[in-house]
Amino acid sequence: MNTQRQQRTINFAALATTGVLVLTACGGGGDNAGSDNGPVNLRMTVWSGAPEHLKLLDGIAAEYRKTNPDVKSIKFDVLPVENYTETLTTQIAGGKSPDLAWIFENSAPDFVSSGALKEVKDDEDVLPAAKEIWQQDGKLYAYPFSTSPFGVFVNTDMLKKAGQPTPADLIKQGKWTWDEATAMGAAVNDKTGKTGIVIRDFDYKSWDNLASYWDGWGAEAWSADGKTCGFDKPEMVQAMTSLHKAIFEDEAMLAPGTTADFFAGESAMTVTQMSRASLLTDKFAWDFVPLPEGPKGKYAVTGQAGIAVLAKGQHPDAAADFHAFMTNKTNAAKLGAYFPQARSSQLNAAALAKSNAKLSEKQLSDVVIEGIKNGKVKPVHIGQAEIYAAVRSELDSLWKPQADVPKVLTGVCDAIKPQLEQ
């Protein structure tokens, strides 16, 4: 190689290396936490693009800016729910972290334990159980923005058509159990050809939604300390055997590879959260009731979301100030219209009914208030995404008519044991 060519090679290598280093610096590998100097434009990522939700959030932001003119804008950035967490982490990786973010319960342990979130102001009004997954070493890292209990929306017209009693009648008689619900679902399928029960958002993939079923048997995905797998325990085997029978023998539940939208009148019952009430139309008469009792009696399950301040956002202090305003008692009452607030001062049906026109005081009291007070949050764990994928992959073998339930569930534990023990 002559000297001239050598020099060209070195020049090219230097150019490439400089490019790599410059882009890496932008890539978020280093600590790039912003400061609050200069004009403040806050950005918060949310998953819901529902006009009424955004109107509410924009209203709170406008109110805040009246007394904080240094904050030039507050933008609510809607990310698709299907890959919300991946998009958020990609933004953080790319050095474009939002200032605030809505975080789902299933990624709470990862965000809280990693130090990605800034500590936020605690409030004694919020129920301790609702704050549990957002705390570490006694500090709070996100406000439990929405603590939404699972209940059952019921198409009473469809049940009537199938000659079935209503859950409200069964609740009065103390007979609202999963056995009864399954029998009703099977009858609906048999007499109307429609689907009996849909565990909404499960779709044979999002298995953590099945907690709204297996908790009735006292089953759990893993122990409270997260170290021991619960899928192969007798309670889980019984719950999943019962579920399998309801799907494949009784044909009471939505079958794998099919869809039925309750809100479009395609099923008699759906297990879901209060916020879905916004999808109800006047197509049919409906009711909203608590989850049926399991063999272990009454129980409640909640889904949760937290609002957090990102430590790597451009304006963490300004974001923390807006966070405190957004989640104060007054604004929490407004947010409660769509996102149930786990605040002891607001857990009364009359107050909730003011902002929930679609649900009656009784429905709010029986499902929402009881659920928030006594509900258990869906399973969460550090490294949940990896565990989630492993469980899903193993459970796929369960969604067949001839599945060996105990064997499949043992396989689930074998698959996730290394991750639980980490």
């Binding site: 280093g30 953080i92 990605a116 044979y204 590879g257 790597k312 073998s397």
Partner: protein, 317 residues
Amino acid sequence: MKTHDRPRVPEAGPANDGARAGRSFWTSRRRDHLAGYLFIAPQLIGSVVFVLVPLILVVWYSFHEWNVLAGTFHGVGTDNYENLFDDPKLPGVLRATGYFSVGLVVLNLSLALALAVLLNQKLRGGVVFRTLFFSPVVVSLVAWTIVWGFLLQKNGGINAGLDLIGVDGPNWLRSEGTSMLSVIVVQCFKNVGLNMVLFLAALQGVPRELYEAATVDGAGRWRQFWRITVPLISPTILLTSIITVVGSLQVFAQIAVLTQGGPGGSTTVLVYYLYQQAFKFHHFGYGATLSVLLFLIVLVLTIVQWQMRKKWVFHES
């Protein structure tokens, strides 16, 4: 190329200093070069910024562990490459990738060739059929896949059609036996039109006299196809096979929309797996290592195919 027709620049000397200052650097040759570089600059800059630099970065990241949430980034040497050999899921992922690639290449190329041969027959309505088969190529990939997702449901359109002829269709996307096949078929129908058009153009370039001579010699249609058509369109077969193989190794959206790698990991191909590792499980370093593995696989397969052209691609020269 030498520019003999251009006047030579006079030797430097005190008498020529004024002339040099005016025209010595921007010779017409240099201006031509500059114009050339300016023309290719947009593509060159794009390639460097969006291809070369990311490629180098991916290799660099593959020697690091990067926890996005914790904000930690540190070198791990060859650990990620050693993990490739210890990863119990990787053999299944590579099997699924191979299954998809082989299935798609065989189905796509044979169907595209068959359609091209049929459309080359100068039958009535050829233009309509050509448009019909080509139209999926211009349809949005995600929209196409979502529609197929509905059709392939247990109670979807495909099984409704099968039911009409008394066949109880399977649960296409929920069964390990049919899920990958479904993804292959969806992808094949999406892009078969492109290969079909390329084959059609190649077929129309085959001289008619060769067929006439072969007919005079008593060769049947099948013999003509294998001895005349296939050799003469072999450069196009090479091109389409390289495009299809490389495309098949990069399949992602179809898997993400239709099966999300399931059931039981049966449709978890390499690109989907590296997406999971990097963006879902936050193992960016290992995800980068899987990207390097994918790059090497594509590179080796392309080189092998390119080398094979010497053996089976027909060149008139």
